[in-house]
Structures are given as C-alpha cells and as structure tokens.
C-alpha cells in the first residue's frame, strides 16, 4: 500500500465536470479523497449536494464505482458492499461513504451506528457544512449555535441545541479509528485518510467543509475559514485511535472569534454577549477534551 501524502497525490482526477458551487468545500474534500484512494475505490454518496451535482444523467462526474444511497442509508449501503467484498474474498477495495452533516448526524445516524457496531471495513467521511445546503440552507443538528439558516432565520433558534458531537458518538461505538479534519489542513486530512485506509474495521472522519453559498462568505474564503476555525478553537483537530484520543493541535491561545465569524453572513447579527457565550462554550469543550485526552492516555484499557 503506497503511502498517501499531499506531495504524492496523483494527477488523476476522479471527480470532474460536477455542478458544485464556487468554493464548495465538500467537493474539494471528495476530489482529494478519490485521488488518494484511487480507481479501486467504491464510493457511496447519499442524497445531498455531492450526489445532486455528480450523478445527473447522462453526465456522470465520478470516475470510480459510485452509487447514490437513500438519504438515511449510507451506512447500510456501505455494509452491503463490504459484505460482498468479504464473501468474495476481495482485497484492496476501499469502501467509502461520503455524506453531509444532515445525512450523518440526523437522518442517517441509525444506519451509521449499525455499520460501526458491526465493525464493517468502511471509511465513513462526513463533510460538514453545518446545514442542509442542497435543499436550501436549513438547520441541521450540526448547525452551530448562532448561525442563521433558512429555518433559523434570526440565528437565535439555533441556540436551542448545540452541535452534535459526531466524533464522540463514533468513538462511543468503540471503533478503532475516528478523527476530525478540516479542508484548511489538507495534509492533516490526507494523513488521517491514510490511517483510516489501513484500519481493519470502520473508521470515521468528520471534516469541516465551508459552503460559501450557504454561509454567505466569499467563494475564495473556503481554505482560510478552514484554518481560522481551527485557530479560534471552534474545530479541534482530533484523532481517536484504538481507545485513545489525541489533540493534534493544541493552541496556547485562541485567535479572536471574530476572525472566523466576521467573514460569514450567517453569523451577522450576533450580539457581543452571544459571541462571549460561544467563546465560553468553546472553552468548556476544550477543558472536557483535555480531560478526555488525559483519561484515555492513562487508561489501562487503552
């Protein structure tokens, strides 16, 4: 198995001619994923942006075996492919799910849970653009606090719940490998994809993927937001590997939240006290993360 790294990415393209919006984070991650995993990869994409822009008859944008799953069933369709790979004794066929946050955290959570529980040999990638973008920017359970969507028009309704913690949900299944990544850190993402590919069992990657259309940011801001979300501490880069959680980047101090929030129309209208509340929530998250890291590092079971 050749190692995946950003310098070694082949020129081959497996996702071309699609109808994605300018600056689409999700399509960029999909492109890298397929370059890295190559032509033997089988990919399952549920209803959502990536399927809507990639499979319009007769112009197919995917250069590998690919299939749209029912919205709720990415994990199940992946399991069906993995079962036949087991049955036929096939090797070196990466089975990859590529699903948005709605298809993962909401409607597809049951199916994902089943696939993780059965220890299917799959790589499940959730590209998280923090709302239902394909249907027109409606709130999902991955929408962050304070973000405006077309079903949380003031941004205030989103405060009712906090973003579901998919990494902990995946880790709670006791799977071998799960990680967060960001489109702003491609080398980190590819290293994690490489690790996921070598796991004999399920792996879960939760990848931050800006959506300029839905977020009201510039189409060339995708990568920068993918970096500032990390430096502000809002999107910790993490790795869960065989029972231990590792914080990949632990900044001594966080960049001001405004560096991340201000370029996005969805956060316009947040009051100073609400931004302070977001910062407080972030700090609590980090305290818990550090405790989790200590706990799993010291665990005799890990």
């Amino acid at each position: 198995m050749k190692k995946i790294s950003i310098k070694m990415l082949p020129d081959d393209e497996y996702f071309v001619g699609h109808k994605g919006c300018g600056g689409c984070g999700g399509s960029l991650i999909l492109r890298w994923t397929l370059k890295a995993l190559g032509e033997r990869c089988h990919i399952v994409i549920p209803a959502g942006c990536m399927s809507a822009i990639g499979f319009i008859y007769p112009q197919m944008a995917l250069g590998v075996n690919a299939m749209i799953a029912p919205f709720a069933a990415t994990g199940a369709v992946l399991s069906g492919i993995a079962a036949v790979i087991r049955a036929k004794g096939l090797t070196d066929i990466p089975v990859v799910g590529f699903a948005g946050d709605g298809a993962t955290a909401d409607i597809g959570l049951q199916s994902l849970s089943g696939a993780l529980d059965r220890r299917e040999k799959i790589i499940y990638i959730c590209y998280d653009n923090e709302a239902y973008m394909n249907t027109g920017i409606q709130r999902s359970s991955a929408t962050p606090q304070g973000a405006r969507t077309t079903t949380s028009p003031s941004g205030q309704t989103a405060f009712a719940g906090s973003k579901k913690d998919l990494l902990r949900i995946a880790a709670a299944h006791g799977i071998p490998y799960a990680a967060t990544a960001s489109v702003g850190h491609p080398a980190d993402f590819l290293r994690k994809l490489d690790r996921a590919r070598q796991i004999d069992g399920p792996s879960f990657l939760h990848v931050f993927a800006p959506c300029p259309t839905g977020w009201g940011c510039a189409t060339d801001a995708t990568t920068e937001l993918g970096r500032s979300v990390v430096t502000t501490g809002l999107w910790p880069l993490l790795e869960w590997d065989h029972g231990k959680i590792r914080i990949n980047q632990a900044p001594h101090s966080f960049a001001p939240l405004a560096t991340y929030l201000a370029p996005q129309a969805r956060f316009r209208g947040l009051e100073a006290n609400q931004i302070e509340a977001l910062a407080a929530e972030r700090d609590r998250t980090w305290v818990a993360l550090r405790a989790w890291e200590r706990e799993t590092t010291n665990s005799v079971l890990a």
């Binding site: 032509e39 033997r40 089988h42 399952v44 399927s51 809507a52 990639g54 499979f55 319009i56 008859y57 007769p58 197919m60 995917l62 250069g63 590998v64 075996n65 690919a66 299939m67 749209i68 799953a69 029912p70 709720a72 069933a73 994990g75 199940a76 369709v77 992946l78 399991s79 069906g80 492919i81 079962a83 036949v84 790979i85 087991r86 049955a87 036929k88 049951q110 199916s111 849970s113 089943g114 529980d117 059965r118």
Partner: protein
Amino acid sequence: MASVEFLSGNEAVAQAVRLARPRVIAAYPITPQTTVVERLSEIVEAGELDAQFVHVESEHSALALLMGSAAMGARTFTATSSQGLLYMAECLYYASGGRWPLVMMNANRALALPWNIYGDQSDSLALISSGWIQAYAEDAQEALDMIIQAYAVAEDIEVRTPVLVNLDGFVLTHTYEAVSVPDQLEVDRFLPPPDLPEGYPGTFSMSKPQSLAITAGPGDYTVFKYQQHAAVMHSAAVIRSVGEKFHQHFGRGATGLIEGYRSEDAEFILITLGSVSGTVRQAIDELRRQGVAVGMLRLRYLRPFPTEELVEYLYSSTRTRHVQNIGVLEKDISFGHQGSVSLEVKSALYEYASRQGGAAVPVLNFVAGLGGQDISGEDVQNIFLELASSVNAANQSQQTLSAPGFSDVRFLGLEPFREENQHQDAA
C-alpha cells in the same frame, strides 16, 4: 433426491433460500417473519449455506444494504412484514428503480393502528405500485417453489425487477405441512449461478467504473419509468416460462399467474389470493355437491396484473356457462373506496367490456380476514350464496337491498357498508 419434510411456511421459505445460495442475507426481526431469519441464521452457522448473515438495525437498512450487495453483483435475501415493509417503503421504490433483482419474503400482516400482529394483506397491497413483482403463495410448498422461481424471474436480463413473495401471516407462515424439498444439485441446475455476470446492468465493474442509482431530470425521467413498466409487463411471460421450466424440473406447480379451480363451468366465481384459497376450494366442493355452479380464480401474482389471463378465464369461448356474478375476497380495504384487489379486477373487466361492448360482469367485494379474523368454510359458502342470490334479486328488482350498489363493500361479520345506511343511522 428430493426429501419430504414437515415444514411451516416460514421454514419452507428458509429452505428455498438455502437452496438458492444467496451471498448476503440481511436480517431484522418482525412477527410473524422471524422464524425465516432464525432458521437461516442456523443454516448459515451450521455451514449449510455460505452467506454473509448481516444483523441490520432496521428494515430500511435491510433493503438498502441489499442494494449495495446487488450492485456488487451478489444474490441476496431478506424478509419482513407489516410495519417493517412500510418502514422500508422508500427502499422498495429505490430498488425497483435501480433495477436490482432482489428477492424478499413478506409475511402478510395487519397494519397499526390498532396494533395487530395477525395476518391480512394491507401491507403488501399498500405497496402494489412500488415496481416490485408481487407473488402470493397458497401453501408452504408453493412458497418454497415461488422463492426459487423468484430468483430466476428477477435476474432475467430483460426483467431485472425485484420480487416480493407474500405468505399470509400465521395462517401460512406458522402452519406445518409436508413439503417436498428439492436436492441442491437440482436447484443448481435450475437457477443461474448466484453471482450476476460481469457487465450485468446495475452492477459495478472494475474495468469500467459505473455510477449507479443516478439522477434524471424532467427530460429523461419518463424514459426510465417507461422502461421499468415495460420490464414488469414483460415479466408475465418470464414468470410463465420459468414456471413451465420449474414444472419440467420438479414435476409440480402452477405455471400461470392465475390458477382456476372448477371455474370453466362456474356461474359464480370467487376471485381471491393467498392461503384462504384452500378454504374456498372446500366450500366450492360442498356447494357443487348441492348443485350450485361455483368456482375460484386464485391470483398468484398481482404485479404484473394478469389482465389477459383473467379475461381468458372469464370469457373464454370454451366456457360451458357464462359467468353471472363475481366476488372478490381479500384481506384489505383501501379506505374511502373498496378493497385494492377488487379495484384491480374491476379495472381489468371494465377494459374488456368497454372494448367488446356490453356490460361487465358484476363484481361484489368481500373484505374479510382483517387483522387475522377467521374465515370459515361456512363464511365462504355464504359469500357464494350471496353472489348467487344477488343476481336473482337483481333480476327481479332494480331496488332490492341485496343488489350491488356503488361503493358496496361487504365486511365479513358486519352489515354491508352503504352510504345510505350511514345516513339513516345519522338521522
């Protein structure tokens, strides 16, 4: 050599699945389907079937999973019932649109509310337009035979359409009878190999990567649906030829989509489906002894709907008597109209009558067996007698109570439903 075993309907299905050698079985429990997947798990654990037995987390996932396996070119199986069938409804349409040759068994069971685990046909009839071929078994032997034939029909290159084989919950799924179980070698000779050939439409390919389960806009969508309809229509001929081939191999089984019983000279015909047919046969024999010319047509398949066969049975020039009156006995009601099967039959007869000129034979709808309600031999005899008397009454008067009226549905054990009755009650 075939062996004769004492099996329930569900166990007969499990044996048929073992013989068909699927690569992947997705299992999720629901009463009264459970013993199918229980037996199959034992068969797989015992090494009698080399299949991946996958414990899924829902019926929706069961069918979705099998679509992934079928896309990989593998033969598959799952079974469900009632709420489970409806929970996977989205995937039924998805699978037929994707043209995957899946085979699924359904234990016909009532739908909530009220909760009821017993048999009726509301579940599968609710999904009659889902693009699946729908078969209804009368007994455990036919269930076994239908499952084996279902793979041959579904995988036929011109058909490529999933098949739902229905067994009446409990009455058939849980009752035991002697069943002839064929030898593995014989079934291997009858069925194609369990892996779909490279290049089979709807499957992945390592040499030529495929995008499956695609999107089609308003300009193309209709063409896909037209092709799907054409495939299901064509499947009628394939069902017959597979049935004939099965008969040659195993020496048994009906070959048509409809099976008649003493219908050639019958004036009063009851059209029905599923396990109640046995009770109907007995009632017919009894009434024949009393000199009443009654008969039955049993619908073995509801999709494709056997319009031509039905017309042939009812209007054939070789008939010795004209059909006076038809009853449709079904375990289902399409609320606000009548039973789904009655609507199917009436549609076929109307088409025939409107082309040939003249009136269609009157059809009375008998809704019985809902939620496991017992249908006795006496009940069926009474249905036949009502068919006979309503013709006589209609001859005497246009306005008799027993003459069929619009929206006239008889619920077994209740007064006939009529709108005017309801108005009287209200007044």
